[in-house]
C-alpha cells in the first residue's frame, strides 16, 4: 500500500511517499502502527483533529476500512482557493 504525506505532515515525517506492508484493518490501526515506528511519526500523528485522510484520492474517516485500498494519504485541512 502506498502512503502519501502532504504539507507539514510530509515535512515532519521527512518524506512524501512510502510503501507500507500492513495488516491494519482501518485507517486508525494504520496510524497506530506508524506512530509506534519512530518519533517523527508519533509527532506527525499526535493530534488527529489536525489531520485529514484520503483513501484512493477520496476524503475518508479515520475509522474507514483499508480493504482493497491502494493509496492512503495524510495531510492537514486544506487551504486552497
Amino acid at each position: 500500500m502506498d502512503v502519501l504525506y502532504f504539507a507539514w505532515v510530509r515535512e515532519r515525517i521527512g518524506l512524501p511517499k512510502e510503501t507500507v506492508e500492513t495488516s491494519a484493518v482501518t485507517v486508525a490501526e494504520l496510524i497506530e502502527e506508524l506512530k509506534a515506528r519512530e518519533e517523527r511519526y508519533a509527532a506527525a500523528f499526535a493530534d488527529l483533529s489536525a489531520l485529514r485522510v484520503a483513501l484512493d484520492q477520496e476524503l475518508a474517516e479515520f475509522d474507514a476500512p483499508l480493504e482493497g485500498v491502494r493509496e492512503v494519504a495524510f495531510f492537514p485541512p486544506m487551504t486552497g482557493g
Binding site: E58, P77, M78, G81
Partner: protein, 148 residues
C-alpha cells in the same frame, strides 16, 4: 465544464471573455479570482502552493459537476495554480454561467466554499526574513459549507 490545475499563470481577462462568449444561452456570468495578498503576519516574499496530483483534479471536477447539476448551469470553469507565487499573482479563478443571476452567484460561492475546504491544496507563506508558515485552515471556511 473545464477544470485546470497548473503551475503557469492564467490570463484572467481572456479566460473570462472566452467563458462569457461561450456560455450559450446564459443571461448571467459570475467570476471570482483570488489574488495572493501580503501575509497578515508581515512581509511575505513567496506563497508556495502544494497539491495532491490526481486527487486535486478529481475533487475539482466533482465539485464543478455538482454545481452544474444543482444550479442548472450552462457552464462552469475552475483554474487553480500550484507552485511558487508572489503577492499580486492570481492564484485561482472560477466562473459560472446560468440563465439567472441568483443561480450564477450561488454556484460561484458554492464552488469557492467547497474548493477551499475539500480540494487538496495547502498554502505555505515564506516571509522575507526566511521564516516559513503553513497557512492554517479557518473554521469560517469549514462553517461556510454548512449553508449548502
Amino acid at each position: 465544464m473545464r477544470v485546470l490545475v497548473q503551475q503557469e499563470p492564467f490570463d484572467f481577462g481572456s479566460e473570462v471573455e472566452a467563458f462569457a462568449t461561450g456560455a450559450g444561452g446564459a443571461g448571467a456570468v459570475v467570476t471570482f479570482t483570488g489574488v495572493v495578498r501580503e501575509a497578515d503576519s508581515g512581509a511575505m516574499a513567496v506563497m508556495e502552493i502544494e497539491h495532491y496530483p490526481g486527487m486535486t483534479e478529481k475533487a475539482l471536477e466533482k465539485i464543478a459537476s455538482e454545481a452544474i447539476t444543482r444550479w442548472d448551469l450552462t457552464d462552469a470553469l475552475v483554474i487553480h495554480r500550484h507552485g511558487r507565487l508572489v503577492p499580486g499573482d492570481q492564484i485561482m479563478m472560477v466562473a459560472t454561467a446560468a440563465r439567472h443571476r441568483v443561480a450564477a452567484f450561488e454556484a460561484a460561492e458554492y464552488l469557492m466554499d467547497y474548493l477551499k475546504s475539500r480540494a487538496p491544496f495547502w498554502k505555505k507563506e515564506i516571509l522575507q526574513n526566511g521564516a516559513e508558515d503553513w497557512v492554517a485552515a479557518k473554521s469560517a471556511d469549514e462553517d461556510a459549507l454548512r449553508r449548502w
